[in-house]
Subunit: 333 residues, 4 copies
């Protein structure tokens, strides 16, 4: 018999992608999907792409999650703690929200405001030592979507002494699903198509977890909203140290990883190539004139940046093959 799984907060984009992955997972059995304001409606009212899936939203309460061996929380930031508190420790939980990512309460308050709920195991399996920690945890905090993209590009370079942690500059563009399924004028198709625009310049909340996970000490980050539904492309540049080779550092770090691909030399990532997958594509070069390393990282913000990563973490927590129910390949064009 399979692992019984519930998703709390399943009406958003990450929730919908999670339902898609779980519906096709060989070991996970989807028993409940909750949605605050859509309880009682069929999941296809929010997710027409799931037509054929027989499931109705429940309200987000303990009763709905009762009986699950595994609960994914895809709730708005700040709402995970209250739900998690109702779940016994025997139930394994992966939180796609930010509530339990940060170790520092001070950083939490600075970027999110309010009280710090606590710290769970940080759920990026490709970080050194992370797999064992995730496997041993019943509570795992998924990373932010930008954070996953940038950490995967940066962490090995700082660890290998190739990039200067005092001098990191990041510009990262995200598809609109990263902004959530909120009825806001600035997210309308009419406003988005044909437009690029930055936001939270130098002030994005993911900076805190990127620094925490990579050891970067100074990091300037400019997020950009891009006219496409999915995908993040992060350009990470840092002062080069010790004449190091950034491609070698990336290749060494990810040689055995099923989802992290350092592309052939000279081939640069395309976000579209990762769409619908749990893969991250990386390429790096040295800009000799400026003495900087440039790494570009691409992934699907709803895949490796959210739902795919969550399923990968759950696979590890249950001792399943890490790729179960996940695709290495993107859906393109």
């Amino acid at each position: 018999m399979g692992v019984r799984v519930a998703v709390a907060g399943a009406s958003g984009y990450a929730g919908g992608e999670l339902l898609r992955l779980l519906a096709g997972h060989p070991e996970f059995e989807l028993i409940a999907a909750t949605a605050h304001s859509q309880a009682g409606q069929h999941v296809t009212s929010a997710h027409p792409q799931l037509t054929g899936l027989d499931l109705t939203f429940s309200s987000t309460d303990a009763a709905a999650l009762n009986g699950a061996d595994l609960v994914f929380l895809a709730l708005p930031h700040g709402q995970s703690a209250a739900v998690a508190a109702q779940l016994p420790q025997t139930v394994k939980v992966v939180d796609l929200g930010a509530d339990f990512r940060l170790e520092s309460a001070e950083q939490w308050t600075r970027y999110y405001g309010g009280g710090h709920a606590g710290t769970w195991t940080y759920g990026l399996p490709e970080l050194p030592g992370a797999r064992a920690a995730i496997a041993a945890s019943s509570r795992v905090a998924n990373t932010g979507c930008y954070a996953a993209t940038i950490i995967l590009a940066l962490a090995p370079l700082i660890a290998a002494g190739v990039a200067d942690p005092q001098d990191v500059v990041v510009v990262a563009a995200s598809g609109t699903s990263g902004a959530g399924r909120n009825a806001k004028v600035h997210l309308l198709g009419s406003e988005i198509m044909g437009d690029l625009s930055p936001y939270k310049v130098g002030a994005h909340q993911h900076v805190a977890e990127i620094k925490q996970a990579t050891g970067a000490a100074s990091l300037s980050m400019t997020p950009i909203l891009a006219p496409m539904p999915r995908g993040i492309l992060a350009t990470v540049t840092a002062k080069r140290l010790n004449g190091g080779d950034p491609r070698e550092a990336l290749q060494a770090a990810y040689a055995d990883e099923p989802f992290i691909h350092v592309l052939p030399e000279g081939v640069w990532p395309h976000t579209a190539a990762t769409s619908g997958s749990n893969s991250c594509h990386l390429q790096a070069t040295v800009d000799v004139d400026s003495g900087r390393i440039i790494v570009v990282s691409a992934l699907d913000n709803l895949g490796k940046g959210a739902a795919g990563q969550a399923a990968q973490n759950a696979n590890i927590m249950f001792g399943l093959p890490e790729t179960a129910g996940l695709s290495v390949f993107g859906v393109a064009p």
Copy 2:
């Protein structure tokens, strides 16, 4: 041991989607992918979304296809016959091209020009009697992408006497991958984005197979190129006969179909909801004032319109579960 599979003409969009599906298929083992001008290159040079797949293009010749139990032909129109002639009858073949779809040599010459190569079993499993014919065939001709979309909407209505075969009007819009991977100025992103434009107005070659498969006698078709990579949305209207109910006719025809979904009343199809899947979404209504039936049909031109349909046909030909390696669910947003 699995079925050994080769894809001839694998560098285009349908070929790439087919490789993706085959790489994830539980019973098919991908042994070769051919590409005329890219022989010797890794498949990721054409299909970066397949990063992680270890496969190199061969040239399109008998040697490359030798040893396959199943060959998919994803060649330009007119090139299938020559390749098929080299394959023994014990090798099963699904042709994604147009060469063997039409029964009438006259119609072939009118719409495609040149000599008619012959007629294979028409590969739309949801047509009455089609499954048995496909299962018994070693040569199956996939339908056109517009044809699949429109036939699925129209065939049951004519068969049930609800729609007048003498008075059918179709307007169907396709994403750009339907126009192929050809380096043409009018297909550049700069030209496509923000633009809708008709083409082959009243003269599209799929009209012939739609009439053949549905019994429509008079059918006006206007194809439109739409600013999205995938998806076809067909609006099929016909004079209503006998006060018939088009939704009932569709529901009766597709009640047991895994991939064909008549949506809940009042819910209209979205192409995005079918993206990456092998599903077709349908809805119908009666326009009382004009006395016409309006059916709208949506599918992924590379999925149920091409590669997905081809894999479904192959599943039937090999006696496998029809849904093996195929997704009912779309990747959205």
Copy 3:
């Protein structure tokens, strides 16, 4: 001294386009722009493309419109009558809303509900006799955006006896700005990009004014939302009568029109080619097999479909050159 102009309801998309046109108009002097909920804010808070224009939103009341010689109403449907009632007859008014378009109170109630406000001069200058009527009016009702696109394609064919008014089928796709600037989930960029979907199938409110303006007796209309910010492409098909030539009929009707262009034979319209302009591009053919005429019409829903048409009407009302402040040329790619 120029004509003093005010725009009521200037925070939406049609309002913004109207401000852009008026700011560049040689004879109109923009003195006020009202916006219900944004009074006191600079117009660039809603319309960043107008950066450089020194204008602040007023609240929508008589005081704000006082002193104007010409008032454009770009209000939500149903709100025009109350504002218009406050304006003296000496002030000329162009209403971009639906309130005064229909002659039939019954049709109004059927499609819009509530009481019928009345009937103003229908503001499509290219209809026979329309220019003189518009020039003599102090109250003009702009057409709907779909209506303009479809009427321009259909009216000359019915008038010339080429198209059967008893058998008209229309499928028309619109960019998202046609759906207005409303914060609704189904209009989010994430939902729109990559998607085509029909709505109000067989039930669109513009059918009433299209029938009224063209004499069509039976007309089935399927509207489609398309993934682009601007533009409407209408495919209008009708049973052909008397072996008539639809291109000749269109050319005869529009030979002297500055904004209506029948394209060279075989060249079909592109919505992108009309973007930002007040032009409508037309092409027609006869589908011999089905005995139907197919006309395709493209325009910018915010241009000739709304703000451009409104400015053209105003030019006529004030005896100015009809093209003043308007562009024949689109902004493409």
Copy 4:
């Protein structure tokens, strides 16, 4: 009588935009448009948005340009010198290509290869002293499109001592028209939509002119191709010097400029807001944590980045109002 104007190389995207601007210019009279391979065809065969303009492409030779007072060269890089050599000095010339931008023959050879054609007046009027130089020149070299975007953001900060010229990092994304109208597979709509991808990482040829115009000594640049037809968004970051205020430096530099707009504090640029205009929108902040300045700059690559800038330069060269025939306002949404 107006200035007689010819455009050499008018079939590309910049050429088409230039024809649009010239057709609406109050003082320039368009007498010829040349296109190597399309001579004899109507300009609307390449530019359907110019329907209504009565002009046919000539071949690109001296005869076609004869009689012009002003010639714009919109030719592929490397072809301007030969054409310019045939024009008498009394004919004023604006070159939209790269041939005459660089002062250093060494830099030319490094980035473009081949022999250096020479150096003309660098045509960015907003640079200190540039207007007078342009006004006095009969030969002006337009800037690159990325170059314009980045120089406008960076030059005042280096000049004011606010940004460290030794430490500049730029990531800039461009719409696809910036890649030209070349029939290449990687520019197809199917590949572009839904995709972000970098190219020429750390190796873009515009770096040379940016350094030349701003005094930047070390500059790392990553260009990105974005899924939209027009627009460039450049994120320019530099180490902050002397506790300087980047907004003040920008405001001081551009206070009297009609086309350069420093947005209200906290409002960040949108490329869509500049579409079709000759404007550039700027915003800046200090990222206190990293000690870096972040400036974001947006413009239309075909407007201020190419054709608009060229027309502005020509206005200056002929002593016309600098804004003649140009729009400050964008066409959005």
